[in-house]
């Protein structure tokens, strides 16, 4: 199986005033295509930093970040923006939906960057909402939906452009257990049925159990916790 994500000797240090805070030190990681990987660890351990590097939202100080065969460290800001639009779907902790747009309007956002016709965009939005089970709530605004439903809209937005990789930043952190399980099951379904590679940052061990591979960050290093056979 080819690697969807490959981090090689990645170093990342943040500057807080005059102080340097090393977060990742010579970190390496390989995630094959089609894996559902959870990433746990204490706050400040570098989980979200990895997510940002893989998603092209941040640059490593050194090392290589290769995603889908693309060396992200060689891409400019504009190139990274274009690359993100076509290759990565983001799912956020607090959903990050546009409150003034309907569910369909939110899901359509990534498609506005394509050359698809309006009819084709609407067709794809409908499919994405159907996958997450919210076809009948297309015209509802985020404020009219529960947290779980809003996260489903967030997932639909992430998959509507059919990216091979989904990056999830604590997607169930704001949800109750039952709803969280539903969202995680949906992610499992996307991984198994739609062959999405998923990297999910979480604090919740139960959420991590839904992944086929569990990693933990500890003092800037990755520890392999468990591997569930596919």
């Amino acid at each position: 199986m080819s690697a969807a994500i490959s981090l090689r000797n990645v170093v990342k240090t943040y500057r807080r005033g005059k102080e340097s805070v090393p977060v990742l030190h010579e970190l390496s990681l390989e995630i094959p295509a089609g894996q559902f990987v959870s990433l746990m660890g204490p706050s400040g351990s570098g989980k979200t930093t990895i997510l940002n590097l893989v998603g092209g939202l941040d640059h490593a100080d050194s090392g290589e970040v290769i995603v889908g065969g693309e060396h992200l460290e060689t891409l400019s800001g504009g190139q990274l923006t274009k690359w993100r639009a076509g290759h990565v779907g983001f799912i956020f902790h607090f959903y990050n939906l546009m409150p003034m747009l309907s569910a369909a309007g939110n899901v359509e956002l990534p498609l506005l960057l394509t050359h698809l016709s309006k009819a084709e965009r609407l067709r794809r939005v409908e499919i994405a909402l159907e996958i997450v089970g919210l076809k009948d709530r297309a015209s509802h605004k985020p404020g009219e939906m529960s947290g779980g439903q809003q996260q489903r809209v967030g997932i639909a937005r992430a998959i509507v452009a059919d990216p091979p990789l989904l990056l999830c930043d604590e997607p169930t952190g704001d949800l109750d257990r039952t709803t969280a399980d539903e969202i995680l099951s949906l992610l499992q379904q996307l991984n198994r049925m739609h062959k999405k590679t998923i990297l999910m940052v979480t604090h919740d061990p139960k959420a991590a159990d839904h992944a086929s591979r569990q990693l933990e960050m500890d003092k800037g290093q990755l520890i392999e916790r468990a591997m569930v056979p596919a």
Partner: protein, 383 residues
Amino acid sequence: MKYVPLVWAAVMRKPTRAILTLLSVMLAFTLFGLTIGMNATFDKLKEEARDDRIFVFARFSGLVPIALAPQIESVPGVEMVASSSGIGGYIQDPKNRVFVQMMDEKVAKVNPEYPITPAQWQMIRDNRRGMLVSKMQADRWHLKAGDTFVIASPMVKKIDGTASWTFQVAAITPDISYMTQGYMFGNFDYMDKSRTLSDQSKTGQFRVLVRDSSKTAEIAQQIENKFANSPTPLQSLTEKVAFDVSNTGMDIAAVDRDIALAGMFMVLFLTANGIAQAVRERIAEFATLKTIGFSDNGVIALVFAEAAIPCLLGAALGVGLAAVLANAIPRFLPPGQGLPIPTMTVMVLVWAVIAAALIAFASSALPALRLKRMDIATALSGR
């Protein structure tokens, strides 16, 4: 077009703020429309003014003896001298203000551009009480040819001691573009012979036509010189000078521009504050847009469009309201006294659109710069 719902939703995210901003912009552009429209009228006056005519009137106010006309005509280069005077008053009610220009028979030749046929001029020669009423004034006072009406003029008394001037509409004539409120023309002789004896054989002003337009200013000076030491010293103004508001001591056009500019600055600060606040409140949303693939320029364009919508919509509505007000103003002013009213030309609208676009650009520049420099990871983390 596919981004319109996104921009519109952003604008209407806070409807009260959006509507109040739109109303403020609209009112500022109403002021802009009226002031720049007034300047358009001034420009039109300047364009229409002929360079071969001179207005001559008493230097120290009052009337001028008509007997001076032949003396003016004797100034080398003068082709013809016409007399005109005015009757200001009201119809029935003091709030129905009107102003009639009483013209002698030479006005038709001195002002040949007036859209009045020789036959129509002859009508007010044949009927001393006859009046030529422009269409705008006829519509305003519901007058038609043959109607008789009375103008009360407390300022212009008749020899019989009354101040009631009876007129009969001889013809309804086309409007004159630079007489923005229309006009009423009467027979000078009717006025002259009906006035108190002390005011008879006197006129308010002479209209002097010169043969060579390149010597108009020189002839105007000669006329002034000629009567400088007479019992009635005269003042001469070429039509070009008289119709140019910048020669009135205070450059009204410049004042208009300053007022319009002040209004635009007010709108700039208002929209700049509004758009800065809107961006500040939605920094995580813009970070999300950039995360999912919106480019820096794309996000900047969205912010600019968000600022441009109320500006352009407000500009269009404001200029529209100014046009409505400009049409209503003549109802409150007497005609024919040269009181200008704003003209809503295409250029006024073009300037309004340019001003609106510049305001939108200037007010969105700093928030756009902030978004361009935004670190997505930091913005998403809420730090």
